[in-house]
Subunit: 346 residues, 2 copies
DNA sequence: TTTCAACACGAAAACGTTTGCGTAAGATCA
DNA sequence: TGATCTTACGCAAACGTTTTCGTGTTGAAA
């Protein structure tokens, strides 16, 4: 087993100095053509590759960006990652990931681990617990140390950094408007409690759409799901709630849910009750994922263009790192949403 | 904006040498208690953290493991990653990911990028194109340079390295046996072409189960899907094939598919034809993901325990890195599969 | 007073690069 | 022949650590 070959070894072998080897490999005309070709041949033979770590130390940059997300077993986040990875690779950067699992502590630890020289900047989506605690010291510290952060999707407005978000309100409005325009009169909303920012915004979009179409909102048509550590339980509970709602409010002919899973759950409850979809009941979900695409019937959704989001975040971060954009100049990019009509809408 | 503070800066500020600072921070009793506490106080005040890159260069290890997977927008792979990440973090390692997108070239580039000092070892699942080309030079080179590799799921048998695999054959056998035992007489198989190794093995499991239950296999009940770059097209084509099959072979009362998506597609075709599931037709899929869990009706599956797989792979790699296990001693771990009975089986 | 150990600290090397500068040998010119 | 210019290379510093080996100062024992 041959270990990785270094400049020093090549130098020794060829009886020249390390600097000569380095220059020869970089084709400096300071070095004679003769020596250059000799060194290059030798390097090729031994498959020389410069040590990234040494380069990082010297250059004070690692060409690596750190991504911290709440979870990876999640269609949206994995799509964002694939967008980040693609753009980063195109520009010669690596991607290192950390998972917070929605925990404040894990988020802090991950950031601290990576901030000590391992990476040049962060792309992250804030953990729910952090949002709840509203403790953002780790972000401030990181930024203070001169390490840029780009937040996406779940962002903290009060922090001065680049952000990439989806227009949740407008997206929801699109969905609900579509429902109204296709003839739905009584549209239920399945959303989260208000402390989840995106849930809140999507709720606002729903209300706005109703208002614009002169439909009076009814509190009895809104279910605000209490998030549960145990997703199974959360979903089971929700299914019962929806069942009850459908029993109580017979007039419901449209449902807008703030995520795929809630929508699928609603669909399940409705199908069990014998509803025909979309004839008796139309459904639209915010967030487009595999679940929607392959559900039977396939779900109409609002797509957030997650890949594009990731790519945009990477672009913004790298632009800042390479000083294409000035340091203190922050920008919030809004990614458009698109209504994808499938089989749960008319 | 204060930059990161270094030992040198602390040393200057306190008018001592760098070595004194280093020793003081590591609580060496070579340094007087007085100086130690002074230095430590100062370091805490300025939030000193040792630079990882410098440490990596010195220690010749990065405490980072590289993971290369074919795609990340995929339930199985993202679960594996979460398993790797968890175990790695527990043992103080970071995870850096590269995506091959099933491309040989991208796999090679990713490995070369990371192998030059950025990481201590690899965990990877081989790209389909690589499997097809059977060009494994990049793996050999990496291993030759003393960098350990752990392959998971899609492995290359001829390469001497640690491996974590699923017993595909046994898993399929379990599924098909379950179908037979629950009364299915005519079980269709939806699998991939034989050059995809896991497809081949799962097909073998199907055949073995039939044999053991003295059921004669019928070639007309087997669909071998040709993979297509465009998944949409692949799935649409498949749906038509299944429809045709159901028309032709009216006796089919069970379907085993080698992945979720094929199973869902089969279910869709069957539901469209008015089949009652599971009364008229039972379905089991290999691979357990969100799709199966939230399908209506929910799919019975063979779970591969992806998280466990990732964790195991990480354990094996780190054990090797930390020389808990001898270098030249390779081992293949087989992860058990479990039948998860849901609503598509009786 | 001399000798020596203990103490507290600093100098320097090492990890693998890149790069500015110095310089010996040879070439060119007057 | 002597002065100057090129050429082709080596030295050393720098990035931020850790660690080995010195070394000057102190205090105590002889």
């Amino acid at each position: 087993m041959k270990r990785k070959v270094t400049l020093k070894q090549i130098a020794k072998e060829l009886d020249v100095s390390v600097s000569t080897v380095s220059k020869a490999l970089r084709n400096s005309k300071e070095i004679s053509l003769d020596t250059r070709s000799k060194v290059q041949a030798f390097a090729k033979l031994y498959n020389y590759r410069p040590n990234n770590i040494a380069l990082s130390l010297k250059n004070k940059r690692t060409k690596t960006i750190g991504v911290i997300i709440p979870e990876i077993v999640h269609h949206f986040f994995s799509k964002v990652i694939s967008g980040i990875e693609k753009e980063a690779n195109n520009r010669g950067y690596n991607v290192i990931i950390g998972l917070s699992n929605e925990s404040f502590d894990k988020e802090v630890i991950n950031i601290e681990m990576l901030a000590n020289g391992s990476i040049d900047g962060f792309i992250l989506s804030v953990a729910k617990e952090t949002l709840l605690l509203q403790d953002y010291h780790h972000f401030y510290e990181t930024i203070n140390q001169g390490m840029p952060i780009v937040m996406f999707d779940r962002v903290v407005n009060e922090i001065a950094c680049d952000k990439v978000v989806v227009d949740d309100k407008l997206g929801s409005k699109k969905a609900v408007s579509k429902l109204i325009e296709s003839g739905c009169k009584h549209i239920a909303l399945i959303t989260t409690k208000d402390y989840v920012n995106v849930g809140k915004l999507r709720t606002q979009g729903y209300l706005q759409a109703l208002e614009e179409h002169k439909v009076d909102p009814k509190a009895s048509l809104i279910i605000k799901v209490e998030e549960n550590k145990d997703k199974e339980v959360e979903i089971e509970t929700l299914e019962k709630e929806i069942s009850a709602l459908l029993d109580k409010e017979k007039s419901i002919d449209g449902i807008f849910a703030v995520n795929e899973l809630y929508a699928i759950t609603a669909m399940k409850a409705a199908i069990n009750k014998g509803y025909k979809i979309p004839e008796d009941l139309s459904i639209i979900a915010f967030t487009d994922g595999v679940l929607s695409k392959h559900a039977i019937p396939s779900l109409s959704t609002i797509s957030q263009h997650a890949v594009e989001m990731g790519a945009k975040a990477a672009t913004m971060l790298i632009d800042k790192l390479e000083e294409i954009v000035e340091e203190e100049q922050y920008h919030t990019e809004v990614i458009n949403t698109t209504l994808i009509e499938r089989d749960t809408t008319r």
